[in-house]
Structure formats: structure tokens, C-alpha cells
């Protein structure tokens, strides 16, 4: 009997505690994310500070793991249990999946007040607006079609900025002759596919990229242009070191930083590694657009998806959304993260040379309509298709698919199968 009484008392206490927690939640922002590394965590602290000024507490729900797979599994469990976080870091189609499941909130009011419709590039709104309602706040825009070059090595071999794909091959040849690893590549499927995004854009041009990798037009996917893109990928493959398979992207970046390798084709998160190693753009390293892709931006973007929380927690949610897209946070956060602001009207004064170019490129691409989602990064098509694409690219790179003819056939087959 005593133990039963004790248990009862305990559960009573627990329920009062829970009620207390519910009270506290109205002034609290519960945030699920996977930004746990030093720079990223520091960047988030800016947001935390901004919210604290307005009297909102920050409840961190970090789930480590670079690609966010673990975090997404945790989010699925939380949502299934009806325990919605105020917001969660999310990528591309995940936002739309959750919106279709009817668990996302509505930020339209905040968006109107803050003028998001105008400031945020239209392609991004495809992922943050669902059926006319704002459901997510974009935090940044990464772009994928960059070359990162070690300047000391570049000077040593007497290279200049490659303007065409053949220029790039010539440059890589020079590096090879000088005994430097020409191309730093991490042989993981997402890195190979990220590079292939740029190659396709360079080989076929902006219109072709959009048709093939955003509209999934079958004629483009099996066209001779796509075959040529695979041929170009095969040519680049000759310039990697024998030990590239399975290497992490930041180790590949480190090879360029140390001068062991000349160039890496990677999204602008690579800049964060250069900056963390105390390297300066223009002096220690160079950032060029992948040859033949200047003026076009292949992007991916981190978003804070906002969930359909009870009415008493919505004020905190709106405050978080406002703070996320405020110009000051957009600038402060993206300077640290290496990406560029998700709204095009943020002053670029705090950014370095590469950041300034990134902001200008995003703005012009957004105006010209040459801002496209990266298929490798999950912004071109839903995850099933994007991963089918990565399968084909990585199997081509690792010789399981032996010719570019076969690669094109497999690409069409895999994408149709996954649709």
C-alpha cells in the first residue's frame, strides 16, 4: 500500500510539473536542429540572443549528425507523438512532405508584415510556401557551383581562372605536371553528385539543367548532352588521387587548404573550412564559379520549418520567424556559416570577397530566373529521385556503370522507377 501511495504521489507531482512545463512553453522557443559544430553553434547563438532580448527563452533540441538524418528521424518521432517543436531545421522537400501531412503552422501574417514575398527569391518560396501559406523561414542560401583553389599552388603552376570546361582540364593538367594532386574529391555519392550538378550546368547550360534536373524531362535526361556531361565527369575523374574513395568532404577541403591539392568542386560551406583555418579569400584561396556556369546559381537552402503549435505558443513562433529573417541576423549568421542571406536586400558590407560575389550572383540569378535547385542536395526533386540520381552518378564514378551510354540509360530508368 505504501508503495502504491508513493507512486500515486509521484505521478501527481509529475503531472503538476508537466503543467508547469506547459506554462513555461508559451514563452519558449523549442528548436530542433543539427547545427552542433563550433561555427554553426556560434551562428545559432546570435539568434538565441536576439530572441532573449524580446523575452523568449530558447530550448535547444540538438540532434548531431551532419546530414541531418538523425535529426529527421527524431523529428518524425516527435511529430508522430503529437509533441511538435516550435520549429525545426529542415531541407527542401521535407518541408513540403510535412506540410502535406498537415502539421505545419502558418506564418503568412508575419511574412506579410516583414515583406518576405518580395525579399525572398521565388525559387526558395517553392519550398517555404505551401498552398499559399508560409510554412517555413529560409535561413540561408548555399550555392553549389563553386571551385575552391589554393592560391599558392595556382601561382606556382602559373594558372589563371578557367572560363570553359577545357580550360579547367588544361589547368588540371598543369597541376598534374607539377606533381600536385589536381582535383580533391571525396568519393561519397553526394559529393560526386554535387560536382556532377555543376558539370551538367556547364555542359548543357541553364535551360538544359532546369529541364533535366528540376522538371525531370525524359528527353533531356537521355539526350546526347547528358551523355556528354557523363563523359566530362569521366574526364575529371582522371585527376583525383587513388585514395579518394569514401573521403569526407572536409578532408578533401583540407587537402586544398594545405596545398596538397589544387582545386575542389564543392558548395560554399567549404569556405567555412578555409575561414576556420585562418585563410583569406583572394590572398590564400580563390573562389571561382565552376567554368561555364557564371551567372547561374545552383542552390540549396536551410529552412526553419514552423509547426502547427497550440495558439498560446504562436507568439514565440512568430518572434522566431521574424528574428530569423531579420536583416541583422541574416548578415551575422551567414558571415559565419559561409552561405549568403536568404533575402536579397541584405547589405553585403560584413561579407568577404567570396560572400560578396555570392550575394551579387544570387541577386542577379534571382532576377534573371537562373536560380535552380541542386538535385544532389535534394532541391531539384523529391528524396527518392535525388537518391536514385546519386546512385547512378556514384556507380559511374566507381566503374560499376562502365560507359556514358549505359549511364544515361540507367539515369532515365532509375529516375522513372523512383518517381
Amino acid at each position: 500500500m505504501k508503495t502504491i501511495a508513493k507512486a500515486l504521489a509521484g505521478s501527481l507531482m509529475a503531472s503538476t510539473l508537466l503543467a508547469g512545463a506547459a506554462l513555461a512553453q508559451t514563452k519558449e522557443v523549442q528548436m530542433l536542429h543539427w547545427w552542433t559544430s563550433g561555427g554553426e553553434a556560434a551562428a545559432l547563438n546570435v539568434l538565441k540572443g536576439d530572441l532573449a532580448k524580446e523575452g523568449f527563452a530558447w530550448k535547444d533540441v540538438p540532434v548531431a549528425g551532419g546530414g541531418g538524418d538523425a535529426a529527421m528521424t527524431a523529428l518524425k518521432a516527435m511529430v508522430a507523438a503529437g509533441n511538435y517543436p516550435t520549429a525545426s531545421q529542415m531541407l527542401g522537400y521535407t518541408v513540403l512532405d510535412y506540410a502535406a501531412a498537415g502539421v505545419m503552422g502558418d506564418l503568412t501574417e508575419t511574412a506579410k508584415k516583414e515583406g518576405w514575398d518580395k525579399a525572398v527569391p521565388a525559387p526558395l518560396q517553392k519550398f517555404s510556401v505551401y498552398k499559399g501559406k508560409w510554412v517555413a523561414a529560409p535561413v540561408n542560401v548555399h550555392s553549389v557551383n563553386w571551385l575552391w583553389i589554393n592560391k599558392a599552388v595556382m601561382d606556382k603552376i602559373g594558372g589563371t581562372e578557367p572560363k570553359t570546361f577545357d580550360d579547367l582540364i588544361a589547368l588540371l593538367d598543369k597541376a598534374k605536371a607539377a606533381g600536385v594532386i589536381p582535383l580533391a574529391l571525396g568519393g561519397q555519392s553526394w559529393q560526386e553528385a554535387t560536382m556532377f550538378d555543376s558539370i551538367v550546368l556547364s555542359t548543357g547550360g541553364a535551360e538544359f539543367y532546369k529541364k533535366a534536373f528540376n522538371d525531370l524531362d525524359e528527353a533531356s535526361l537521355k539526350s546526347p548532352t547528358m551523355k556528354k556531361a557523363f563523359d566530362n565527369l569521366g574526364r575529371l575523374k582522371a585527376y583525383v588521387d587513388p585514395n579518394y574513395s569514401g573521403r569526407d568532404w572536409n578532408l578533401a577541403t583540407a587537402m586544398v587548404i594545405k596545398g596538397d591539392a589544387l582545386v575542389q568542386v564543392m558548395g560554399d560551406w567549404a569556405k567555412g573550412e578555409f575561414v576556420a583555418a585562418k585563410k583569406e579569400p583572394g590572398k590564400d584561396f580563390l573562389c571561382y564559379r565552376f567554368p561555364g556556369t557564371d551567372g547561374t546559381v545552383i542552390y540549396n537552402s536551410d529552412m526553419f520549418g514552423m509547426f502547427n503549435v497550440p495558439a498560446d505558443r504562436r507568439a514565440a513562433q512568430a518572434a522566431l520567424a521574424t528574428a530569423t529573417l531579420s536583416k541583422s541576423f541574416q548578415s551575422a549568421f551567414n558571415v559565419v556559416k559561409g552561405s549568403v542571406p536568404a533575402r536579397t536586400d541584405v547589405p553585403d558590407t560584413a561579407f568577404d570577397a567570396c560572400g560578396k560575389k555570392g550575394i551579387a550572383d544570387l541577386k542577379s540569378a534571382s532576377e534573371k530566373g537562373t536560380l535552380f535547385g541542386s538535385l544532389a542536395q535534394g532541391y531539384g526533386a523529391p528524396p527518392a529521385v535525388a537518391n536514385a540520381y546519386k546512385d547512378v552518378v556514384t556507380k559511374f564514378v566507381h566503374d560499376q556503370i562502365k560507359t556514358s551510354d549505359q549511364a544515361v540509360i540507367e539515369l532515365v530508368k532509375a529516375i522513372n522507377d523512383a518517381k
Binding site: P242, N243, G246, N387, T394, K395, Q400
Partner: protein
């Protein structure tokens, strides 16, 4: 009516005095069942319930979230088609052929090596107390630690190959971990390194349980050491083989973390096992139906191997 109630009442009162005793006894009888009930219920729900749920999901069109409308067996049809796509190998084809290679080698080598080590350790050698934990220790590590350690050790630019080159043996070449056709064997190496010590401990316990008199009698009859082990000791270790086989078989089918930590999937996904396939499709590609179907096939595989084996072994024992 009144007449008939009287004896009833009497018997009832007699029963109640007896009941106080029997209640206690009955409670005592029930106690083990009561204590086991929660875990039994948990197993029913969380193991068998979810097996049924997974089977159900595999016949739906579930993608990111479960969808409860039954459709046809499209997920199985896709898996079936992928089973025969070998050029270029589909991810599913790679996964199941890898499971075949990994399962046979992992179980076979672990059993052979474990038995050999146990027999050698059983020769009343000095320092057995020190040697035994050394072999057993890898089992205390998680697969992630084993995977990462072997990843560094086998990496040609970092571990064994680089070290031997630095020592002057420059013709040495070992890049299996980077080779799409060999990478699965590195998973076998790391797996065997981890589990063979544990198998050794099982065999050692079995060897210690064998009556010394039988061995002496056989030696007196003039049996050589090889004959002694082949004809007497190893047949007597049969129950240990059974336990070790079952432990290793299920470990090989559920191997997931080792592949991820050691190879992160291998070049072009060439190190995948079915569990990697399942996780990848369910959680990364939002194709929950295909992921569930592959999980069901994994379950059927393990059932098809273990149930007949268990049946034949246990039947023989009962005889």
C-alpha cells in the same frame, strides 16, 4: 429451495476458510506469471506487433509517413526485379550478394578461428588468464569503434600501407577498402576480429565441460590427439556450435553500423548489406513501403536459415 441452500451455505463457509490458504498458494503460483506478464506483453507488442505492422506497411504505398491504404505488392515486385539486375548492380542486388559473402565467411571464419583458439588455449598453457581477456576484449567494443579503428588501419593513405611504405616495403599494396569488389571482405575482417574472441570463449566453456575421463579412456585406447579432437571433442561440442551459429547468424544479418562506420557504404554503395538498404530506403529516400518489404525479406531469410537448423538440432536432443 430452502433445503437446497443449506448445504450450499455450509460448503461455502468451509470453502472460505480453505480459500485463505489456497489464495496465498495460488498467488504464489501466479507470481512468476505476474512478474513475467509486463515483459511478455512488451515483447508481444514491440516485437511481434511491429513485425505484423511492418508486413502491413510493405503492402501499402507508404512514403515519408505510414499510409494505411492497402495496395498491391508493388514494393515486392520492385525488389524482385532488382534482385536480377546485376549489370550495373542494383543496390538490392549488391546488398543480398554481399550478405551471402559476408554471412558465410563471417560465420565460417568465426567458428573455425574461435574453435582453434579455444583448443590452443585449452592446452593448460601458462598465462591463460591473461590471454583469454585479450581475445575477448574486442567484443566489449561497439561496432562503431571497431569500424572506425579498422577504417583508419586499412586506409592506404593512413594506416597499414602507409606505415609499411614508411618502413621501406614500398611494393606493399593493400587497398581493399577502396576497391568496390573487395570492400565487403574488409567488413568480414573487422567483423571476425570482433566476434571470434567471443566464439572462442563459448568453445572454451564447452571444452571445460567435457569429462576428462572420456579423454583419458580414448588416449589409453591409443587415439592420437587429432583423432581425439575430431572424433570425440568436436562432436561433443555440438550444442556450442548451435549457440554460436545462432548468435553469429543474427549478428551478420543485422550488421549495419559496422558497414557504416567502416566504409560509409563503400565506393558506389558496394558495401551495402540489406539492413543498410532498409534504413536508406525507409528514412533517407522516404520509400517506407520498399524499406518495409526489404525488412520482411530479411526476417524471412533469417527464419529460413535458423528455424530448420534449430528444429533438427533440438529434435535430435529430445530423442
Amino acid at each position: 429451495m430452502t433445503i437446497s441452500t443449506m448445504p450450499d451455505r455450509v460448503s461455502a463457509s468451509a470453502n472460505s476458510s480453505r480459500r485463505s490458504v489456497s489464495l496465498r498458494e495460488r498467488l504464489q503460483d501466479m507470481l512468476p506469471k505476474l512478474v513475467l506478464a509486463p515483459s511478455f506483453a512488451a515483447v508481444i507488442v514491440f516485437v511481434y506487433g511491429f513485425i505484423l505492422w511492418t508486413i502491413y506497411l510493405s503492402f501499402t504505398n507508404s512514403r515519408t509517413f505510414p499510409n494505411y491504404t492497402l495496395t498491391d505488392a508493388r514494393a515486392y515486385q520492385r525488389l524482385w526485379r532488382w534482385t536480377f539486375e546485376s549489370d550495373p548492380p542494383s543496390s538490392w542486388y549488391t546488398s543480398i550478394t554481399n550478405l551471402g559473402i559476408f554471412g558465410v565467411l563471417y560465420i565460417g571464419i568465426c567458428l573455425a578461428l574461435g574453435l582453434l583458439l579455444a583448443i590452443l588455449l585449452d592446452q593448460k598453457i601458462r598465462g591463460e588468464g591473461m590471454l583469454r581477456p585479450i581475445y575477448l576484449y574486442p567484443m566489449a567494443l561497439s561496432f562503431i569503434v571497431t569500424g572506425v579503428a579498422w577504417k583508419w588501419f586499412l586506409d592506404p593513405g593512413l594506416g597499414l600501407e602507409k606505415t609499411l611504405h614508411a618502413w621501406g616495403w614500398t611494393s606493399f599494396h593493400f587497398d581493399w577498402i577502396k576497391n568496390k569488389d573487395r570492400v565487403i571482405y574488409t567488413v568480414v575482417i573487422a567483423g571476425v576480429w570482433q566476434a571470434s574472441g567471443f566464439v572462442m570463449a563459448m568453445f572454451l566453456a564447452g571444452l571445460r565441460g567435457i569429462d576428462g575421463e572420456i579423454m583419458k579412456a580414448a588416449q589409453m585406447d591409443g587415439a592420437t590427439t587429432v583423432q581425439l579432437y575430431r572424433r570425440i571433442v568436436i562432436p561433443m561440442l555440438r550444442p556450442v556450435f548451435l549457440s554460436a551459429f545462432i548468435v553469429l547468424a543474427h549478428m551478420s544479418i543485422k550488421s549495419y553500423d559496422l558497414v557504416v562506420a567502416l566504409t560509409s557504404g563503400g565506393p558506389g554503395g558496394s558495401a551495402w548489406l540489406p539492413s543498410n538498404f532498409m534504413y536508406e530506403y525507409t528514412f533517407k529516400r522516404n520509400e517506407m513501403a520498399v524499406g518495409s518489404a526489404s525488412a520482411v525479406i530479411m526476417l524471412m531469410t533469417i527464419t529460413a536459415i535458423i528455424v530448420p537448423y534449430l528444429y533438427s538440432e533440438l529434435k535430435e536432443k529430445g530423442r
